[in-house]
């Protein structure tokens, strides 16, 4: 599989803590089909003064990014250097091509607008008497688009995608940047059971789990940060308050337990889930 049909995940920032983002709408569709919803976080230009509906970029959880690259669905694109170097070395022929593309889009828009204008006139019953066009008006109404996905770094992205050593390095850096390494194993275990997962701080957990696409289905569980359940203590008060919290948000409060292992490959059975419910007696 070459890099071209893989999903490009841009890692924003430097060092360990990086933010995985996806910019291509087709990639976002693909992700949704394999059960990764993510969080849209950019301003929606058609409704720019609200936060309910947002647009590209799609922000992924670190665990999602790790899982997607580990399973070979996606690859990483990193760092500001790739943009600055690409921008500093733009050749005049590339600029020329970009300009031609813009011209091309303008030409299409002109044709479209003239046609629309003609149709409107015809509908209003006016004859073709408006022969005198207003080119200035037409020119000033042409649309310049700011693309979401970069063409500037497409070559660099391809190169990075075909560089397994660097991909490995980025993967490990990203994993080291997590607060709780056990969470990744919890994520994988739940993903295997076809849950859609999303960040869960607002329901008091690490993840919240949906049985299907969150567009259509309510979530059922708030999953707590992974515990090493053989060693880490779980306070009884925590259990009580967690159970209450779960009832409050109408979800199952789930404690995810992983077992510490000595540098071995993860075994799925190492992850256990315990769900806690507020029993409704009395």
């Amino acid at each position: 599989m070459d890099g071209s049909n893989k999903i490009g995940i841009s890692l924003v920032g430097s060092g360990n803590g990086r933010i995985p983002l996806v910019f291509d709408i087709n990639d976002i569709k693909k992700l949704r089909d394999i059960g990764v919803a993510g969080i849209l976080s950019g301003t929606l230009p058609s409704a720019a003064q609200q936060n309910g509906f947002l647009s590209v970029p799609l922000r992924l959880m670190v665990e999602e990014a790790l899982w997607l690259t580990e399973t070979g669905v996606a690859f990483f694109i990193s760092g500001p250097e790739s943009v600055t170097t690409a921008a500093e070395t733009v050749t005049s022929s590339e600029m020329e091509r970009a300009r031609q593309e813009l011209e091309h889009s303008f030409a299409e828009q002109r044709v479209f607008k003239r046609q629309q204008h003609a149709e409107k006139m015809a509908r209003l019953g006016l004859s073709n008497a408006e022969g005198k066009e207003t080119p200035a008006l037409l020119e000033s109404s042409l649309f310049v688009e700011i693309p979401s996905a970069s063409s500037l770094i497409s070559n660099e992205a391809k190169r990075q995608g075909n560089d397994p050593a660097q991909q490995q390095k980025l993967w490990h850096k990203l994993k080291d940047g997590c607060t709780n390494p056990g969470d990744y194993r919890v994520y994988k275990a739940l993903k295997q059971q076809n849950y859609f997962l999303s960040p869960g701080a607002r329901f008091g957990g690490r993840f919240i789990a949906y049985p299907g696409d969150p567009l259509r289905y309510h979530s059922h569980m708030t999953v707590q940060p992974a515990l090493d359940y053989r060693r880490d203590p779980l306070n009884l008060l925590q259990v009580v308050s967690g159970g209450r919290l779960g009832t409050g948000v109408k979800k199952l409060w789930v404690v995810a337990g992983v077992r510490a292992h000595e540098e071995q490959e993860d075994i799925e059975s190492d992850v256990s889930f315990f769900s806690i419910e507020w029993a409704g007696f009395g």
Partner: protein
């Protein structure tokens, strides 16, 4: 005609749905069909029902899901970012300075964003640059360092812009910045050094500092004389005839932190703090939307915001001492005292005070309000992989409040020494500083 009424029906249902934040707002995803309608009027997506419990494998469900997804992706791909040629404003990113400039600045955003230098060039900080590009207000270009003219400056995409963030923290801060900007707030990077926000305050500061240390001295002195409070002899000297006296005496035994309550006290504290250390600063200063805002003289901000990402390995919730030093550096508009001063002055202009006059609040209710509302406050914006929770931290002062007695007006004037007995005020804890947390409904 029939179609028209149907349309109207649908629209009214939309507003009802938007208002009805009961369950929907809690859930992660929204009904994209509304916004799809805003984006393009031709393809009307039928309104779908509420969410289901879980997939049951029926075709009906599949169809609904398909439509929901289609509505979402249609509105995403139809909403192209950009601008028409006439309104195009080109901004050029300068990598060395991590800023962007606009040579011929124009547009409404200049009101609250950007800094114009001597040559009339408007400089945007990186957050403003990305935010404006994302809404299509400006067109972002990369300024090459090796050339004077813009002939070879490439157009930047949104992806390029995000990749140019220097750190993940900066990107998280941008997310909060954009969230607040979309709501209409005026957001600026926090400027903690006092000389930036008010010049004449500094001039008074040294004196304020002096009186501060003086008052500390007298406090210390009085504490020396108070020491006998703990002495067994004290109990022979004093006769306790009412339980109120006992409570008052006990109250003296519990050490507590007194929160500064007036604007003046707060200034003094901040001054002493700026001499000592200024490590933990806020991320943003925020003003509520206002028409009369001036970038040069913004006045005191309404809110302070600190951005934290809870999922990074170096994350730690602010410790007690960090929170205290953060409280000390708060200088936002302080409505707590203002309100009380206003009511004391009794200006008939404000409707609020008018109301208070017509219906005076009983002191114990006023006290409860004080305890609940607290004094200085700031907001933590906690980033959880793209979802932001706003948490307000407020400094509240239980120690100075007399929560043990139901005081009458006379009694409160005569200090707690006097009788007027002993109704418990539901389990409130005296002493110590308490912080009330509440989730702020900014979204």
């Amino acid at each position: 005609m029939a179609s028209k009424t149907i349309e109207r029906d649908e629209e009214s249902s939309i507003t009802r749905d938007l208002l009805d934040s009961d369950d929907e707002a809690d859930e992660l995803s929204k009904d994209w069909s509304h916004i799809a309608k805003l984006c393009k009027s031709q393809a009307v997506v039928p309104k779908r029902g509420d969410k289901d419990y879980e997939p049951d494998g029926t075709n009906a469900q599949e169809l609904l899901l398909y439509r929901a997804k289609k509505a979402m992706f249609d509105s995403l791909s139809d909403a192209a970012r950009g601008t028409v040629v006439k309104n195009q404003i080109k901004a050029f990113y300068v990598p060395e300075r991590h800023l962007a400039f606009i040579s011929q600045p124009k547009g409404n955003f200049m009101h609250t964003m950007g800094k114009v230098d001597r040559n009339g060039t408007c400089w945007l900080n990186f957050h403003e640059f990305v935010y404006l590009a994302e809404r299509g207000t400006i067109t972002p270009y990369f300024k090459r360092s090796d050339r004077e003219d813009h002939g070879l400056d490439p157009l930047l995409s949104i992806q390029d812009l995000y990749l140019l963030f220097r750190s993940s923290q900066e990107s998280d801060e941008f997310a909060v910045f954009a969230h607040l900007k979309r709501l209409g707030f005026i957001v600026m990077p926090s400027q903690m050094s006092p000389d930036d926000h008010n010049n004449d305050q500094i001039k008074h500061m040294p004196r304020a500092g002096l009186t501060d240390s003086l008052s500390k001295l007298t406090k210390a002195l009085s504490q020396i004389f108070q020491v006998p409070t703990y002495h067994p002899l004290q109990y022979h000297l004093t006769r306790y005839t009412t339980s109120g006296q006992i409570y008052a005496a006990l109250n003296k035994l519990v050490p507590f932190y007194t929160a500064p309550k007036t604007a003046k006290e707060i200034d003094q504290e901040r001054y002493s703090r700026t001499i000592n250390s200024r490590k933990n600063d806020f991320t943003f200063d925020v003003w509520k939307p206002q028409g009369s805002f001036k970038k040069k003289t913004p006045g005191l901000p309404d809110l302070h915001i600190l951005v934290l990402n809870k999922n990074t390995s170096d994350y730690s919730f602010p410790t007690y001492s960090v929170i205290r030093s953060l409280f000390q550096s708060v200088y936002s508009k302080y409505d707590g005292t203002l309100e009380r001063q206003e009511s004391a002055a009794g200006s008939p202009l404000s409707s609020k005070t008018g109301k208070q006059f017509s219906k005076p609040v009983p002191p114990h209710l006023e006290q409860q309000r004080r305890l609940k509302k607290g004094y200085r406050s700031f907001i933590l914006a906690v980033m959880d992989d793209g979802l932001i929770s706003f948490v307000k931290l407020t400094e509240s002062d239980f120690g100075s409040e007399n929560v043990w007695f139901k005081t009458t007006r006379r009694a409160s004037k005569n200090k707690p020494r006097s009788d007027r007995s002993t109704r418990h005020n539901g389990g409130k804890n005296p002493g110590g500083e308490k912080k009330t947390e509440e989730l702020n409904a900014i979204r």
